[in-house]
C-alpha cells in the first residue's frame, strides 16, 4: 500500500492531515526551505558542469522530497551511506556546500565528513554500500546506541548481489538498518520493468522477513513520516520511495534516447516542490518576501562556496599518498618523493 500524505495538487490526504497536525511549525518550514535550497543548488551544479567548473554531475531534481524528507527524519548519531546522487541528503544534513562541490570537482577532500558526522563518502559502485550500512547498524546494536544506519540506493541497485546479501544479514541478525530505495523508474536507460519481474521493490522485503514501506517519493510529508516511524522501530526495513529524476542520469547522459517527453511531463506534474509549496500557500506558511530573501542568500552562499573551492589547489603530491595507509609507509614515501621531483622539475604541473 502506497503511503501518501500530500497529493500532486497540494491537497492533504486524510493521513496527511493527521500528520500535518502532529509536526511543528519549525519542521514544516524546514521541509520547505531545504527543498527550495536543494533545487537551487542542484540546478547551479548542472550549470557549473556546463560551464566546465565541475566534472560530470548526477542531478537530484525530482527526487528532493525523498532525499530531504528522509534526511530530516534522521538523528545526529545515525550512520548515513549515500550513493552518488544524494546531494539533497548531504546538504540537508549539514555537509558543507564546499565539500559537495569539491567532490564533484574531483577533489578527494570533498569526501571528508565534518567532525562528529557519520555521513559516509558517496558510493560509486552500485549497491556496495548496503553491506556497510549493515555493519554500521551492527556496531550501533552492539554499542546500544540510540541510532540507526540508513543506506540510500536506486532501483537498479536491487539487481546486484550485494543488495541481497545485505538484506539477508539485516534479517538474520535483526539490525537497525533502513534500506531506502529511491525508485526513480530507471537505472540510467533501463526501466524498472526490465530490471525486475516484480512490480515493485518492496515485494522483495518478504524474502528477508524485514519490514516494508512503499511511499510516494514525491510527497515529502509521507517520506518524512515513514522514515521517522521506521527509525523509531530500530528494526530492519526496506523502504521504496516512488519518484522520478526529471533530468538526465548524469550530465553525460541524454535521457531523450530512452524515455519520451510525455512521461517526463506526467512526472513534472507530480513535482515534489510544487505540491509542498501549494500546501504552504494554503496554510499561510509561504512568506514570498521572506523566501525571496532566503533564495538570494542561498545564491550568494553558493557562489561564495564555488569561489572558495576554486581557490583551493589540491595538495600535490601529498593528495595522492595521504591516508592510503594509516601512516605513509617507507616505500610510498619513496614514490611520493619521486612524484615531488616530477612536480619540481615541471614534469607535472600543479
Amino acid at each position: 500500500m502506497l503511503i501518501n500524505h500530500l497529493l500532486p495538487c497540494g491537497a492533504l490526504t486524510n493521513t496527511g492531515s493527521a500528520f500535518w497536525q502532529m509536526i511543528s511549525q519549525q519542521e514544516k518550514i524546514k521541509l520547505l526551505h531545504f527543498m527550495r535550497f536543494v533545487r537551487l543548488f542542484d540546478r547551479r551544479m548542472v550549470l557549473w558542469q556546463r560551464q566546465g567548473k565541475i566534472g560530470t554531475y548526477a542531478p537530484v531534481e525530482g527526487q528532493e522530497a525523498s532525499q530531504i524528507g528522509s534526511a530530516l527524519a534522521l538523528n545526529k548519531l545515525d550512520w548515513i551511506f549515500p550513493s552518488y546522487r544524494e546531494q539533497g541528503v548531504a546538504f540537508t544534513l549539514g555537509i558543507p556546500t564546499t565539500s559537495i562541490i569539491q567532490y564533484w570537482s574531483g577533489h578527494i577532500e570533498g569526501c571528508k565528513p565534518p567532525i562528529g558526522y557519520r555521513y559516509v563518502p558517496p558510493t560509486v559502485p552500485i549497491a556496495t554500500q548496503l553491506p556497510h550500512a549493515v555493519g554500521a547498524a551492527w556496531s550501533i546494536k552492539k554499542r546500544k546506541e540510540d541510532a540507526i544506519a540508513i543506506a540510500y540506493f536506486g532501483d537498479g541497485a536491487t539487481s546486484e548481489g550485494d543488495f541481497h546479501e545485505a538484506l539477508n544479514f539485516a534479517g538474520v541478525f535483526h539490525l537497525p538498518v533502513l534500506f531506502f530505495c529511491q525508485n526513480n523508474g530507471y537505472a540510467i536507460s533501463v526501466p524498472f520493468e526490465k530490471q525486475s519481474a516484480t512490480k515493485s521493490v518492496v515485494d522483495r522485503a518478504k524474502a528477508y522477513e524485514i519490514d516494508e514501506y512503499q511511499v510516494d517519493g514525491n510527497d515529502i510529508l509521507a517520506v518524512y513520516d515513514v522514515i521517522k516511524n521506521a527509525r523509531k522501530k530500530k528494526r530492519p526495513a526496506l523502504i521504496e520511495a516512488m519518484t522520478y529524476r526529471t533530468g538526465a542520469h548524469t550530465t553525460a547522459d541524454d535521457a531523450s534516447r530512452y524515455r519520451c517527453e510525455e512521461e517526463v511531463r506526467v512526472w513534472l506534474n507530480r513535482d515534489p516542490l510544487y505540491r509542498y509549496e501549494q500546501l504552504c500557500i494554503k496554510e499561510g506558511l509561504l512568506d514570498e518576501e521572506q523566501l525571496t530573501k532566503e533564495d538570494e542568500k542561498m545564491a550568494i552562499h553558493l557562489d561564495q562556496s564555488m569561489k572558495e573551492v576554486e581557490q583551493k589547489t589540491p595538495n600535490l603530491p601529498s593528495g595522492l599518498f595521504n591516508h592510503v595507509y594509516y601512516q605513509l609507509p617507507n616505500w610510498l614515501e619513496k614514490q611520493q618523493e619521486e612524484a615531488s621531483e616530477d612536480v619540481n622539475n615541471g614534469s607535472v604541473h600543479c
Binding site: G55, T56, Y84, Y103, S105, G106, H107, I108, G110, C111, P122, V124, P125, I126, G156, A157, S159, E160, G161, D162, A187, I188, S189, V190, K194, Q195, S196, A252, D253, R257, Y258, P314, L316, P317, G319, L320, F321, V324, W331, L332, Q335, Q336, E338, A339, D342, V343, N345, G346, S347, V348, H349
Partner: protein
Amino acid sequence: MLTMVQSIADAQRVALELDENVLLLGEDIGKNGGVFRATEGLWEQFGSDRVIDTPLSEAGIVGSSLGLAMGGFKPIVEIQFLSFITPAFEQIVSHVARMRLRSQGVFSNSMVIRAPYGGGIGAPELHSDSTEAYFVHTPGLRVVVPSSPYTAKGLLLGAIECPDPVLFLEPLRLYRSRKEEVPSSYFTCPIDKAKRWREGEDVTLIGWGAMIPILIDASQMLIEQDISAEVIDLQSLSPIDEDTIFDSARKTGRVVIVHEAPRTCGVGAEIAARLSEEVIDSLEAPIKRVAGYDVPYPLFALEHAYLPNVNKVVRAVMELVYFQ
C-alpha cells in the same frame, strides 16, 4: 574515417551480421546504444533479442553469458567500466577462465568481455582504474588492448573469432581522440602479437592502449636528443609476445615499460621479470618502469600527477642512457 569507439561499434555490427550466434549483453547497450555509444545503432538493427539490455548485475551477466557460450552462442559482454567488473570477478576467475579445461574441451567458454578503462578524461571516482594485471595473472583468459581505431576493429574481430575467453580493454582516452580510415568489411588483427609503431636503436619503450600516443610523442622528443627509441605496443597482455620484446631489448639494450596501473605487480613487472630472466646479458642499464603510483587512482583533480606522461617517460629514458 572512424573514431575508436565507432570502429568498435562497427566491429560488433560486422560480427552480428556474420554470425547469428553472436549476442551482445550489457547495461544500457540496447536502446541507449551504450553509455559511450559503443553499441550505437545495433539494437535498432538487430533487435532486443540479440542486443540485450540486462539488469544491473555483473555476475548475472557474465555467469549467464557463460551458460550461453556453453549452449553454443558467442556472447559479447559490455562491462560499463572496468572497475565494475569486480562483482563478476568470481564468475570470470573461477568459471569463465576454466570451463573448457574443466569439461576437458566439451563445453565452450568462448566470449569477449569488453570494458572501457583508464584515466585522463576527468571521469568520476573508480571510473579510471586500470586493473588489467588481475586478469593477466589468471590462466585461461586472454587480454587484449587496442591503441588505434584500425587495430581496435581488427583486434576486436580477432577476439570474437578466438575460441578462448578474451577480456578486451578499451582505453577511454582514445575513444574519440582521433579518426582513422577503417575498412567497413570484416578483417582481423592477430590478437597475440605486439605491434612496433616505431623502430629505434637506443632504447625500447613498451606500453599499450592510451600509453602509445605518449610513447610516440616521447620518441619524437628523444630524437632531438639524438636518441632513437623503438615503440612497442603490446596489444596482447596475455599472452605476452615475448619474441618481439626480447628482440627489441636485445637490440637496444635499454627498456622502459610504461603503464597506468599501480606499479607493484602490474603487467610491467612481468615484462621486467621476463627480460631479467631471458635477456639480462644484453641489457646495458636497469629496466625502468614508469607507472601509476601504488595508490588508488585519484579523484580527477590529481589524475595528471598520477598518470605517466611524456616528461616522465623522457626522464626515465635519460636515466638509462646516462646510466653507468
